[in-house]
Point group: C2
Chain length 599, copies 2
């Protein structure tokens, strides 16, 4: 079994050397923080990950939650973990002091959650969801609601969920059918079914607080009819007692991965006694949900990176210890076998994982930094646009590439990788949900090509390009970076030209045709975004290599330079083939009709 799931050294590199997160303390909201407080936060997160989470990684997979008579029984390791989450203030760490937060940059919180996810993603899902649900109440709820829910949720005693999906409604959220009927008492009667509700029931929390989308009875169809409600499993009655709120859990799904976290079927109002309270304004349900969606999508992206990290360190450790064969130039069978890591093809697969993982993590921190700046009012509009623009990339790239990265971790293990005695097959299973939940890859593709590139008359796209150009200009001071600088410049020009061509065609073709290859466009854009982050990391590493540094640091920075070279030479080049397709006029996927799939 692997012993390492993430690199502390890399986190310090990103926080202090690449992004200088501590510089955020120039803003009053973050003024109490500095490198030292961040170090302590990350130390604690590492300790929680190591002590309370990673030891149960496999065990929670083998002993998943089970459903019995309406209750979901989860792994007992959840108890000390949720206690720690509550006591340590991890759920609301970025919130203001006055409501018990620590005014921590979201960037640092995200890094902590990255560690949690790498150690045990299934566990991490619980506080992540509570934080998301609490955020909706915090942002849109009444004071009464905040008083009723937030303290318990922040304490880890009440679990939060996001209850969107229904048996017949997944991506097409405008079609949900759960009904909310107004009453004269101020609350609504809720009736409907939800599925795939993560942490939707649990024996280790006192209550489950569902932030639920429902449709006003006799209201307008589609999106305008949808509102957001808080629908607790137990409501507090006038006497202050917990009273069952008719939210029944009818079962959980048996699923491919992240088995430690149950996804539940819920049935509201079977006994006509399910009450929901409107959060925010009527008809604003989806809009409110989407205001929070950016953070959720960042979480999914980081969750995917965390699994790639866990799988990478398992594969690295295996490759360092397992002997097999000889190097290609040495076939004498009397010489000893070499460690797997001596083989170029193994190093190629390790570099692939490392480059995808560290590049994506850097992008996640970049986006979180934009969020932090936005939240304190620093060029909020611009930073907000950059966040919006990059979200589909951050959500999708590690999710989709993670399938191949965790697959490479299996491949390095050979037959053992296929076996449950090694952790990599689990990461491979766990990560497969990420291209699906919180907006499928298809949805993300439509988002970037259909909305983001032309949003604010193209200003977000322009801002993004200028950010890359800043990095290119900084890198130009380093002769060692001539090659990647040239390649990224070429890629940016291709991105500009291709995007302009696509947008030019837009008026002449159907929306369906325009969006048909948007998933490929998203992949094209993602390669460039990750290359941008690698150029930044290479520049910082090359600069650091000029100073007097320890051998260990030298190895670390050299590793960065090699990984960047790998990314440019093996990954970024994929944009050329993608561009050929994206420029093609053969609209085969639009033109083929369903009967041609028959035989």
């Amino acid at each position: 079994m692997a012993t390492k799931f993430a690199s502390r050294r890399n986190i310090d590199f990103l926080i202090n050397e690449v992004f200088d997160v501590a510089s955020l303390n120039r803003f009053p909201y973050f003024e109490d923080h500095d490198e030292e407080t961040f170090r302590m936060v990350i130390d604690t997160a590492m300790k929680i990950s190591t002590d309370l989470m990673f030891p149960y990684f496999k065990d929670m997979d083998v002993q998943p939650p089970y459903w019995k008579e309406g209750k979901v029984y989860v792994h007992s390791a959840m108890v000390p973990f949720l206690e720690e989450m509550g006591q340590g203030g991890w759920i609301q760490a970025e919130k203001p002091y006055d409501i018990g937060g620590q005014q921590l940059p979201l960037t640092i919180k995200e890094i902590a959650y990255f560690l949690f996810g790498a150690a045990n993603y299934s566990m991490n899902v619980y506080p992540m969801l509570t934080a998301g649900a609490a955020n909706l109440i915090y942002e849109f709820g009444t004071q009464e609601m905040k008083d009723m829910y937030l303290e318990k949720m922040y304490a880890g005693k009440w679990q939060g969920t996001m209850a969107l999906t229904e048996p017949d409604v997944g991506s097409s959220l405008g079609d949900i059918t759960t009904i909310a009927e107004p009453t004269e008492h101020g609350y609504y009667m809720i009736k409907g079914k939800k599925i795939f509700i993560s942490a939707g029931n649990s024996n280790v929390t006192e209550n489950i607080v569902h932030l639920m989308l429902a449709r006003l009875k006799d209201g307008p169809s589609g999106v305008p009819g949808i509102s957001l409600f808080v629908v607790p499993e137990y409501r507090i009655n006038e006497k202050g007692e917990m009273e069952y709120n008719d939210v029944a859990c009818g079962g959980i799904e048996h699923k491919l991965g992240y088995k430690g976290s149950p996804i539940c079927q819920l049935s509201m109002g079977e006994e006509k006694n399910c009450r929901g309270w409107l959060v925010g304004e009527l008809g604003q349900g989806l809009a409110q949900m989407f205001k929070m969606m950016n953070e959720e999508r960042i979480n999914i992206g980081i969750g995917a990176v965390s699994k790639i990290s866990g799988a990478y360190y398992a594969a690295l450790e295996y490759a360092q210890q397992r002997k097999q064969g000889r190097k290609a130039d040495q076939k004498d069978p009397t010489t000893p076998m070499v460690d797997l890591i001596e083989h170029a093809d193994i190093k190629r697969m390790l570099l692939f994982q490392k480059a995808v993982m560290e590049g994506s993590l850097a992008l996640a921190i970049q986006v979180s930094m934009y969020q932090d700046l936005m939240s304190v009012g620093e060029e909020s509009e611009e930073n907000g646009m950059l966040v919006d623009f990059l979200i589909p990339i951050l959500k999708t790239y590690p999710s989709e590439m993670g399938i191949l990265a965790t697959s490479a971790a299996i491949q390095i293990h050979g037959g053992y990788g296929f076996c449950g005695d090694f952790p990599v097959e689990q990461y491979y299973r766990d990560i497969r949900i990420d291209p699906i939940h919180e907006g499928t890859t298809g949805i993300q593709g439509q988002d970037i090509l259909g909305r983001k590139v032309s949003m604010n008359k193209g200003k977000a796209f322009e801002l993004y390009i200028s950010e890359i150009e800043k990095s290119i200009n900084k890198a130009k001071d380093f002769p060692e970076l001539i090659k990647p600088v040239g390649e990224l410049e070429r890629a940016v020009n291709l991105m500009k030209d291709l995007t302009a061509e696509l947008l030019d065609k837009k008026a002449e073709i159907s929306k369906e045709t325009f969006l048909a290859d948007s998933v490929l466009y998203l992949e094209f854009m993602s390669q460039i975004a990750i290359a941008w982050q690698w150029l930044e990391m290479m520049r910082v590493a090359i600069n650091a290599l000029k100073g007097p540094i320890s051998d260990q640091d030298k190895a670390f920075y050299q590793g960065k330079v090699y990984s960047g070279r790998y990314f440019f030479d093996y990954e970024l080049i994929k944009i050329d083939s993608l561009a050929i397709r994206l420029r093609s006029d053969d609209k085969v996927t639009v033109e083929i009709t369903r009967e041609y799939f028959e035989d």
Copy 2:
């Protein structure tokens, strides 16, 4: 649950229209066969698949074999299936009449096994392995051995295995340590351990016959020391009684997929009573094994195609029935939701699966046809070279692409794809072994770049190119094919140029550097091989569309044309990016040393 796992129509198309397999009856060995006998064979295979295999697809995953006190207990559905395999003569169908075979073209047998694999790959593994083991005895064994083993094995009563892998030896077979010590009785005493032995123990067969690689005691190290032995679980003593042969099964692995087929740990000679009989000549073990390896690698390739087929039809069925959202140009929420298959991005994912699957199946039949021609002495040398050349492609392309193809099947299902109620997550797990067993993708890459392209002074490669050129010339008669013909011509030229460049550099660089990107070269070569097959299929389909045909046939042929267009426009283009990398002089994966992975 899905109802279809493979297309009978497509099989008929390949057998009769593309490859004219019946033309093999011009050779005396196949003279009793024609389209009609093939039809009956495929009918029967389809019936077996449908009745005896597919119903247990999920059940064998949920109730996998278990180990108890040295014995492996497999699913009870294995009993009627193995009986059918034996009675129907499926294990030795391609062998001569005189030993109970049917002199069936291997091509037709492979198609039958494709159906078996699509219906239930785990079940299919058992007869496939018996056939492989029996082949080794048939090819290299003494008459006494043949008399002792073949009848029982062909009857499905004795299970065969290929016992190669050891706890410390996987890809590097020259390093195996299992020892064979000669005795004066003609047999050898065997001592050692094997792992990952598929079907290595079972409660439903009377005996297990291991075809095992072992090293002669005090013999030479490396490959020359390795010989092949038949090591049965029970040997027949002088009285004709079954006697335990000290082959102990110590357990089975818990694995990611194809759970219905156990992979066993074996321990030989713990009681110093394990006898093995030499098969063929001393020191020829690996060479003999590799003579049979082509067929095994074809089997793996076809096995991967079969899983892609099962997943594809499950996804297609789901996409035809599941409603979600509206087409991109229609956002009015009062209009009804459309079936998933109406969305271009869903059709793109279906076309991807279909193009990978049908293209790979065509290549499998192409290679099997070369094998059949070789086996009857028709340009044996040339056809043998074509088989050898194409094996790494046929083994690897569907195995590696199958990860993405089955992943696409999950993606089409959305959240449901992640759940055990639908079959696609199982195909995704099942297929992950294929890039590993019978020679990893890394081994296949080294094989094609390190051996196959320069084999026989490049003659195999030249022959292969001339085969593609024949197809291109035939396609030139069709104006509808101008575009793909041009693209394939361009691809072939790129392949020639790139390969020549790589071979030119070979003398100046280390073997390690030369082979470092051989996996990418294999992917490059594979795209072109599959495009070649698609050009053939498109030509036949376009020709058929000119005649008076039924609406159903028209839909089928149009589906072929669209799938071919998809392949050329979305897949073949990947060669451009691959070529950039393969031409690069940045040897980052060779140059990076292990300490740079440390931090």
